[in-house]
Amino acid sequence: MPNSRQNSESFEIMISNFEDIILARQKVKFLMGEMCFSLLAQTRIVTAVSELARNMVTHAGQGKMTLFQVDGKRKTRGLKCIFEDKGPGIQNIDEAMQEGFSTANSLGLGLGGAKKLCNEFKIESVPGKGTSISIIEWL
């Protein structure tokens, strides 16, 4: 993402089942607490992480979450979370982002909802190869 630079060690968490989603949530919450994010920001981002991690488990079977701090413009700090999987990918991203669109018999709030919950959201997907989603929340 433009205007952001990694400035700390990164944490990688492999996510392959529903228990791992809880571990990922706890790790993100812990890091955000250390960075002094508000409780509301923590709740929003952990909810977004929960949606995106679940998407990886449901659609790709497994994936990897990478977390690190980033520096933005004017000494702002942020937390970046990258979700990468080697699943089937998304055929039509615009359609998948819409509220109510789902291929997994769910509510279809995951992707669009996660985007609404964080400051920056970027999605890249190649059908047949996998999906990469990165989100940033600025302090």
């Binding site: 919450k29 923590q42 709740t43 769910s106 669009g112 919950l117």
Partner: protein
């Protein structure tokens, strides 16, 4: 699943969710609630989420569906104790929970549950009367 306690007090079942539930544990809890209602025949279900930090679209939908399911068994549901951060996040996420009755805390929830159950009972009686006449 032994993670969540299910308490029967009088004519109600109270479920205080104290841990972060993963998806399968949440589904098991739903089944366990249905089993307990089937066995005890209680008229009210109160779910307390005051210790829950995250309600995402999965858990939100599961709670709404649980309320619909137990209603089919003749039991009313009230959800209590949603934190302000959880509420703000749910609305931003776009999750619709209008079918679910809610109250601020357990005390208010039990009072609401009592009126809901007695209303339903009265409705049922008036229907029965109408049919016999």
């Amino acid at each position: 699943m032994g993670d969540v306690t299910i308490l029967k007090i009088g004519n109600n079942i109270i479920v205080p969710i104290q841990t972060e539930l993963h998806d399968n544990a949440a589904r098991e809890l739903q089944t366990e609630i249905l089993r307990r209602i089937e066995r005890t025949g209680v008229k009210g279900l109160l779910i307390d989420v005051s210790a829950v930090n995250i309600v995402d679209s999965f858990l939100g939908r599961l709670l709404v569906e649980t309320a619909k399911m137990v209603r089919l068994m003749g039991t009313e549901t009230v959800l209590v104790g949603m934190k302000k951060e959880v509420v703000l996040t749910l609305i931003q996420l776009g999750l619709k929970m209008q079918d679910l009755h809610t109250a601020l805390n357990i005390e208010d929830g039990l009072a609401l549950l009592e009126t809901m159950v007695s209303n339903r009972f009265l409705q049922g009686r008036s229907h029965a009367k109408f049919k016999t006449e």
